[in-house]
């Protein structure tokens, strides 16, 4: 009894020291900044996505492999519990499953604070989509894609989301299915708008940006969700018309979930 009291007291003492030292370290200076990384981890159902020969099945029972999975994410915004928001305009990222280093997006110069949710756009917003060529650098440079093209030259605009693979139910001669989703709403006429915004609450977690903490938000996707709003490979094996792509865009807007957040000290 006595022993256990002493033990509890010591533990409590040690714990309070930890708390004190934590609070002290986590005090937020008015000019403290750090980055937030968002890691996109692509899954199919419960399985990690492997490009190439691995076969998956969608809810319609259609088998498919994934040879290419690319998508643009942009217009990130982070929110605190008090509703205040930090926006990251003019930052565009191209997630390419084939290139590991593109899977983590880093937002620089985030003011220190506790962030409780984030939102971002899948695609390239309409203003950028009609901007002067001088505004199209980095992942928006049409010269940057090579054979893995993410830009439509004949119908000016970016391919927001691209998924290709092989399916036994595909109606093409080579059994290849190609889903290229674009359409920012049009400039000279109103056309289909497949821009989608994803909002993710961090739930009980927060991303705690401190002078010495650069959080990582781990986003897990479920590629099966792309089929959840009515897309069937057997019905549409080649999808490149923005108007017909709406169900697929609605589907992929549901595929992103925040799994957990790391607030590790540097």
């Amino acid at each position: 009894m006595k022993k256990s009291f002493l033990f509890s007291a010591l533990t409590a003492l040690a714990f309070s020291f930890t708390i004190v030292s934590c609070t002290k370290e986590e005090e937020i200076g008015p000019n403290d900044k750090n980055s937030i990384s968002i890691e996109f981890d692509n899954y199919v159902g419960g399985e990690k996505l492997v490009l190439g020969s691995k076969s998956y099945k969608n809810s319609l029972g259609e088998d498919f492999t994934v040879s290419t999975l690319n998508y643009f994410v942009s217009n990130f915004s982070l929110k605190k519990a008090d509703g205040s928001e930090v926006k990251f305009p003019n930052q565009y990222f191209l997630i390419r499953q084939a290139d590991t280093k593109t899977l983590t997006v880093t937002l620089p110069d985030v003011p220190a604070g506790d962030y409780t949710s984030m939102s971002y756009m899948i695609g390239v917003d309409s203003l950028k989509s009609i901007s002067d060529v001088s505004q199209r650098t980095g992942v928006l440079d049409p010269a940057s894609y090579g054979t893995d093209n993410m830009y439509w030259s004949w119908n000016s605009g970016y391919i927001f989301f691209k998924m290709e693979g092989i399916s036994s139910v595909a109606t093409t001669a080579t059994k290849l299915f190609q889903f290229h989703i674009g359409g920012f709403g049009g400039r000279t006429s109103v056309t289909a708008n497949n821009l989608r915004t994803v909002t993710a609450s961090f739930g009980t977690n927060t991303a705690q940006v401190r002078k010495n903490i650069a959080p990582t938000v781990h986003v897990v996707t479920d590629v099966l969700q792309t089929f959840s709003q009515g897309t069937s490979i057997a019905k549409t094996s080649v999808m490149m018309n923005p108007a017909a792509s709406k169900p697929f865009a609605d589907g992929y807007s549901k595929m992103f979930k925040v799994e957990h957040i790391h607030n590790d000290k540097i």
Partner: protein, 347 residues
């Protein structure tokens, strides 16, 4: 001694001033303006402030325009399908032959007065001249090359880094510089000195037949779509052509709006005499066939322009004689100076 030293200083100062002005303007002032807005034209739609036209920029653009380096195997330049003598259409070809002798799917449009155009291609799929050139370069039937590869080839060439330096002040070759140089050359392709323009300026007389044709052109309503000094209102309309040759649905391909099926951009009529064959699918060999079509061949396409179905009749009522007169007028839109100007000629 003292005064000569001062003179030297003054000379070197003025030389420095000249250098500075050059680097700011990006080139020497040239005697004839590279680009100017003809008196009868509206203000250009192209924003020239984002791509100031300089003689070195135009020279670079012209070099690129006529260079097969833009294509996968070096065989096809822009000039291959856009010949000056035919107002930058492909002489004698309905559909141009691109790389590996593959045939395209639409009639190459003329490159005339592009600074006033707000959309490009028969279906208007591209809305900025600077973004236009990517399409023919990457089209597998045309040049079948990747923009990134083109830039790599230009960087590796002996000549181009120097030309880019002259035009932009450094040897750096970027997508923007490349595309804007091509735009600069294309923007200079202004045609505004036809016989009709000279007539408007009081410098030439139209023949009786040509004047009658001009009057008919207005009375029959041709000028409602082929309007103004540019001879186009830049709209998309169905003029009564069924998609019976190529299945091409025109503007619908871009907007996916049912109402846009069979609609194509109203083309300019400037230099129309030399841009044969006619229409997006090149179905008419000569102007006689075109006029006969408007008189007798217009079909209900589902989206036929209301101007072509008036008084319970399809098409435009015109006698053979009236058609001839309109053709005579259309030929006054030929601009010999434009078609032969050495500034636009292949090097």
């Amino acid at each position: 001694m003292n005064s000569s030293r001062w003179r030297l200083l003054a000379v070197s100062l003025s030389f420095m001033g000249w250098l500075a002005s050059c680097s700011i303007l990006g080139g020497e002032a040239s005697p004839a303006p590279l680009f100017s807005v003809p008196a009868t034209f509206p203000q250009p739609t192209y924003d020239l402030s984002k791509n100031p036209i300089t003689s070195d920029g135009v020279a670079l653009g012209k070099q690129l325009f006529f260079d097969g380096i833009l294509s996968r195997d070096g065989s096809i330049s822009c000039g291959e399908c856009h010949n000056q003598s035919h107002a930058f259409t492909h002489h004698g070809h309905g559909f141009s032959h691109g790389i590996d002798n593959q045939e395209g799917t639409r009639n190459a449009p003329p490159l005339i007065n592009l600074a006033w155009q707000d959309s490009f291609f028969w279906d208007g799929g591209v809305f900025d001249l600077d973004l236009f050139s990517i399409a023919p370069i990457e089209n597998p039937l045309e040049m079948d090359e990747k923009i990134g590869n083109v830039l790599q080839k230009l960087r590796a060439s002996k000549e181009y880094p120097k030309l880019f330096k002259k035009a932009y002040g450094s040897e750096e070759i970027t997508t923007e510089r490349f595309l804007k140089a091509l735009s600069q050359f294309m923007l200079t392709l202004v045609s505004a000195n036809s016989k009709y323009d000279q007539f408007l300026a009081g410098k030439a007389q139209l023949t009786t037949e040509e004047s009658a044709g001009l009057q008919l052109f207005k009375d029959k309503g041709c000028a409602k779509c082929h309007s103004g000094a540019l001879f186009t209102d830049h709209s998309f309309r169905s003029n009564g052509l069924l998609p019976e040759y190529t299945g091409d649905l025109g503007r619908y391909r871009i907007t996916e709006n049912e109402a846009d099926k069979n609609k194509f951009k109203v083309p300019t009529l400037r230099n129309i005499e030399v841009t044969y064959p006619y229409m997006h699918d090149a179905r008419f060999l000569n102007l006689e066939a075109v006029l006969r079509f408007y008189a007798e061949g217009v079909k209900e396409t589902g989206s036929l322009d209301p101007l072509l179905k008036q008084n319970g009749r399809l098409g435009i009522p015109m006698t053979a004689d009236e058609q001839q007169k309109i053709i005579a007028f259309l030929k006054t839109l030929t601009d010999q100076e434009f078609l032969t100007n050495p500034r636009f000629a292949a090097p």
